[in-house]
Every structure is written in C-alpha cells, then in structure tokens.
C-alpha cells in the first residue's frame, strides 16, 4: 500500500512557484515549475540542490506558503516556496 501511494504521489503534477532572497537570489531566479515527484519539502530540497549545486554548501531555510519550514512538510498543489539564506536584518 505504501509503495502504491508513493507511486500515486509521484505522478501528481505540482505547480510550484519558487522565490529566493539575498545571496541565493543571485543564482536562483524567481520561477514557476510544473513538476511531478515533489510531494514534500525534503524532496523539494533534493530537487533544488540538484538543479543549483551552489546551494549545497550553504545554510538556507525554506518557507512554504509563507510559513517557515521547521520539519519535513507535505506540499499541496499549488505551492509557493521561498529559499532564504541566513537573515541579516537590523
């Protein structure tokens, strides 16, 4: 059952809007992707780090639909994900 559910999820086409800030905005542009196989924030991280290897060495946080991601969170269609380097306000 788990396997079939995973397969089912993997087939869901996701519309994800990606926004980025600070240093990360220098190499990841604002974009919309239409993709299958990204069902939670962990799989998104794997995807985005593969697309942009520069991200691998960096500290960053995600915000899913304007909520800062503290632990792996399911992504529902459509989603906005922000990729944020360490904050430096003040």
């Amino acid at each position: 059952m788990i396997a079939s559910s995973q397969i089912k999820n993997k087939n869901i086409q996701m519309e994800i809007e990606i926004i980025s800030f600070g240093q990360i905005a220098e190499f990841i542009e604002h974009q919309k992707i239409d993709i299958s196989g990204i069902t939670d924030t962990e799989t998104f991280k794997q995807y985005i780090e593969n697309q942009f290897p520069a991200l691998k060495g960096m500290k960053y946080k995600l915000a899913l639909n304007k909520n800062i991601v503290q632990e792996n969170t399911a992504i529902k269609n459509p989603a906005t994900i922000a990729i944020m380097p360490p904050f430096s306000g003040g």
Binding site: S88, G89, G90
Partner: protein, 147 residues
Amino acid sequence: MGEKKVKNIFVNGAITPAFIADSIAKHSSKTAIGGHSIFMGQVRKDEIAGKFVAAIEYTAYEELALEKMHQIREAIFEKYPLNCMHIYHSLGTVKTGEICLFVFTSSAHRKPAIEACSEVVDRLKAELPIWGKEIFEDETHQWKENT
C-alpha cells in the same frame, strides 16, 4: 489581540532623526508613560580586506517578515506591561552613518520598556527574513551576516 491589524514596519531608505523626533513628540499626550527605550541600528563603515562599506542595501520577504513581526509584537505585549511599541526597518539603500532600524518601547516604568526593547531587537534580528547587502566603495558587495 488576535484580530489586530498587521502593521507595516518597512520604510524606504534611511530612518531620519527628524522622523524619530516626531515619533517621540507624539508620546507627550500619553501621560501614563514614565519611560521610553529606543534602539537604533546604524550602518557601520566596516573595513573588509582593505575596502570600506559605503552602504547596505536591504531586501526582505515582506509579507512573511510583517506576519512574523506581528507575532513577535503580540508576544512582547503579552510579556511586558507596555503602553506603546513602534518598529521601523529600512528597505533599499542606507548609507554608512545612517539609521536602518528604530525600535521604540514605552511603559509606566523603565524596566519593562528597556527589557522589551532589547528583546524585540534580538528577535527581529534572528527571526525576520531581511537581508543586508554590504556595498563597498568600489561597488563590489558582500552579504551581511548577523553575529
């Protein structure tokens, strides 16, 4: 306080002494206040590898920052008996020597005003999605990191 409106904290460019004076003056009619605490952040002309910082350019994830600031504001009002709290942060370019952050808390007595102000500054720096890009005099840049 859950239905309180989310206030804007962002101002374009530097925060001027005149703006701060105006904010202070507005409190003279609030005669239950006995102590005001203010923190101001000022852009330092740091030297890094022989180059001097000329300005910081601030950007933010504004919607998330305002929502987060709203939560911090409510938590601080819960914790301290404050009469007022005002917070302003610059976006865009702020030159060295100019003010980029203004936190202003007021209470009947000094201790809650001082403690609340200090806590707001700490939380704001740690929790608000704001980024500072240090622009050097030769127009190269590096990204600021809070220590």
